[in-house]
């Protein structure tokens, strides 16, 4: 049902370094489909995939680009259109706009909703409190960072006696703080309950309505921002994460590895997000630049290691550094995989290997027989690879 989009490249990169995952940010119309499922009112509207899909109309409507990133309005992604010709033109223009690395393929054409006031409302996972929180403000319609702190009401949704959820007390208090009309009380409580059910049942990490239109008799969600916990996707088979369009990323993913392009000289294979990041840092500190890197994750299959070397070989780095700390991954297994890859690929770059942990001695012996440099310390190995690439590049690297 929901087609999902990648988040911006930089965010994805950090995400992948951590957990080999893509954060699942729903598009506005996908989020609104969920709102509908949970009886949260949304404006009448239609999803448009291309100019031909624009229906005939002759009154003012709102046309919105569908991209999984914030600040869409400021970048020209939300416009008022007066008829279908106007909408078609607007779509043509919007298709060319770069929204923080995203281009809109789909568009949402919605009826305008006349409303005197707008609220901000969300349920989010607060990592620091290790609890969901309810956030609300009577200054909706702008990004939450721009709302003054004193206008944001925050409720932690785990109580002192450890019960989880939104109590009536919280609802009442919030209703009063937001100065809402008496007639909307029931509708407000129902809305909060629906948001909570959506948050819980869909494994959301964020359910945000901003702006929320306040009408005489109730509320309409004018926008949606929903983030689903990718680790819970096994419970939501209807949510499909799109595959990457990068063939190397795909190949890595198939083997349960994270592959990221950084654009420097030294190809890197390491195991574990923290060690991979620390290695990139150490290469940079010593004046080298990391090219593409693979986080091998844990493995005891030499074939996976060989596949990793093969993947990097496709990109012809100046040199390849393999930094393995054996634990789940055994150093001798890694060595076997490297030798297998060298035998079959005959790579055109030099390989520097650092092995430590389980199986180091055996692994180093395997590599030595093949004439591959093996180091005990990360520091030594990184010094060697950086000085090699800088020499081979005629000191091109930054000094």
């Amino acid at each position: 049902m929901h087609k999902l989009r990648k988040v911006a490249r930089t965010e994805r990169l950090i995400q992948k370094m951590h957990n080999n995952v893509i954060m699942v940010n729903l598009l506005e119309y996908e989020g609104k489909a969920l709102f509908k499922k949970y009886n949260i009112r949304i404006p009448a509207g239609k999803v448009i995939h291309n100019e031909k899909g624009v229906p005939a109309f002759k009154k003012e409507k709102v046309l919105k680009a569908q991209v999984p990133t914030g600040h869409r309005g400021k970048n020209g992604g939300v416009v008022i259109v007066k008829d279908s010709a106007d909408a078609r033109n607007a779509i043509k223009t919007m298709k060319k706009i770069n929204f923080d690395g995203f281009f809109s393929k789909d568009f949402l054409l919605e009826d305008k909703v006349k409303h005197p006031t707008e609220l901000y409302l969300s349920i989010a996972l607060d990592r620091s409190k290790r609890a969901p929180v309810l956030l609300a403000s009577d200054r909706g319609g702008v990004n939450i960072e721009e709302i003054p702190k004193e206008n944001i009401f925050i409720f932690t949704l785990i109580s002192k006696n450890n019960s989880l959820g939104i109590t009536n007390l919280i609802e009442q208090e919030l209703f009063t703080k937001l100065n809402l009309e008496k007639d909307t009380r029931e509708a407000f409580y129902e809305l909060i309950d629906s948001m909570w059910r959506l948050y819980q049942e869909e494994d959301a990490e964020l359910v945000e309505i901003n702006p929320l239109a306040v009408l005489k008799n109730g509320f309409i969600a004018l926008d949606s921002k929903i983030v689903i916990d990718d680790d819970a996707l096994f419970r939501h088979p209807d949510i499909k994460v799109p595959l990457s369009t990068d063939p190397l990323e795909l190949a890595a993913k198939k083997q349960n590895m994270s592959f990221v392009r950084l654009g420097g000289d030294i190809g890197l294979i390491a195991n574990g997000a923290g060690l991979t990041m620390a290695t990139i840092d150490m290469i940079a500190e010593k004046g080298g630049t990391t090219g593409d890197f693979l986080d091998l994750g844990g493995t005891d299959d030499p074939k996976k290691v060989a596949a990793a070397v093969g993947l990097i070989a496709n990109l012809h780095p100046k040199a390849l550094l393999i930094n393995i700390f054996g634990g789940v991954t055994k150093a001798d297994t890694v060595a076997e995989g490297i030798v297998a890859a060298v035998d079959s690929l005959k790579p055109d770059f030099r390989i520097f290997v650092r092995l430590s942990g389980f199986g180091t001695e055996k692994g180093k012996e395997t590599l030595r027989k093949k004439g591959i440099d093996a180091y005990d310390g990360a520091d030594e190995a990184i010094n060697a690879v950086v000085s090699y690439t800088r020499k081979s590049l005629g000191q091109r690297g930054k000094l």
Partner: protein, 289 residues
């Protein structure tokens, strides 16, 4: 003395018959861990490296008096395994499993709090006290008895740093890998609190990485309450910066999350930040003079 585990810690392994469970049980036994039972539903009666396997935690406890558990079960079943352990009376649970849904983790955390149990992890290398026991997957040969407490969000980077400490002759009192997930059962601050009370810990190494605000909170705690020397390390200084999201996450986590913010927070709390792992022992030796 050490934190969380001692000679009386009797350990069960949930998911002992799986590939990882079996492999690491052997390593834990080699380390001297008192593993009294394994639990895998439907595999009761089996035996793994001399450890009897039971169908459920309750019968394992009844037979052995176990009081701690290491969980290797797949992410989908982690919550029910942990609930089972808590309900059976286990007070210390180490979750090695990665990709545990955050909603499940919230439920587990609440259940643990209500029953006076502590969770470490998920997605973590566990804890180890050289000379006593290891509940997790930190490679045995990296560990050495000593007086440095280590707290880390990372996996292999922890091994790297522990190895560096051991090779430099410093050694560790206890190593705690709290895990890199959004909702950790035990936080940096929790672990610092424990090390603060521990007579056998002279100094602490805190290993953080980019993302979230855990390091900033740790810095705040150190500034106000922690008296022992602390050396910090942050991975990801050269990782590309994250983006502003324009949603609730931004207001909840504030400006924290970047390597610069974490390093600044550490430094303002008097924590020396090492620029690479191999510099940590030198800084520690200076601090312990």
């Amino acid at each position: 003395m050490s934190i969380l585990i001692d000679k009386r810690t009797k350990v069960i392994i949930q998911g002992i018959t799986g590939h990882q469970g079996t492999f690491h049980s052997e390593a834990m036994l080699d380390f001297g861990t008192n593993i009294v039972a394994g639990v895998t539903p439907g595999k009761g009666g089996a035996n793994v490296y001399g450890v009897d396997v039971y169908n459920d935690v309750k019968s394992a406890i009844k037979k052995t008096g176990a009081n701690a558990s290491v969980v290797f079960v797949p992410a989908q079943y982690a919550k029910s395994a942990v609930f089972e352990a808590i309900d059976a009376g286990i007070k210390l649970i180490v979750i090695i499993t990665e990709h545990v849904p955050s909603h499940d983790m919230i439920d587990m955390l609440i259940h643990a709090r209500t029953n006076g149990a502590r969770i470490i992890g998920p997605n973590c290398p566990g804890i180890a006290t050289p000379g006593i026991a290891k509940l997790g997957i930190i490679p045995n040969q990296t560990l050495k008895k000593g007086k440095i407490g280590v707290i880390s969000r990372s996996g292999t980077l922890t091994y790297e740093i522990v190895n560096t400490l051991s090779k430099a002759g410093l050694g560790e009192s206890t190593v705690i890998g709290i895990g890199g997930d959004k909702i950790p059962g035990t936080t940096f601050v929790d672990a610092l609190g424990l090390f603060g009370e521990d007579k056998d810990t002279d100094a602490v190494v805190l290993i953080g990485e980019i993302g979230g605000g855990a390091e900033e909170e740790a810095a705040e705690f150190i500034k106000n309450y922690f008296k022992k020397p602390v050396v910090g390390f942050i991975a990801g200084v050269y990782a590309p910066p994250g983006k502003r999201m324009g949603h609730a996450g931004a207001i909840i986590s504030g400006n924290s999350g970047t390597a610069q913010s974490k390093i600044a927070a550490f430094e303002s709390a008097g924590v020396t930040v090492a620029s690479s792992p191999d510099k940590i022992p030198v800084i520690l030796n200076r601090a312990l003079l």
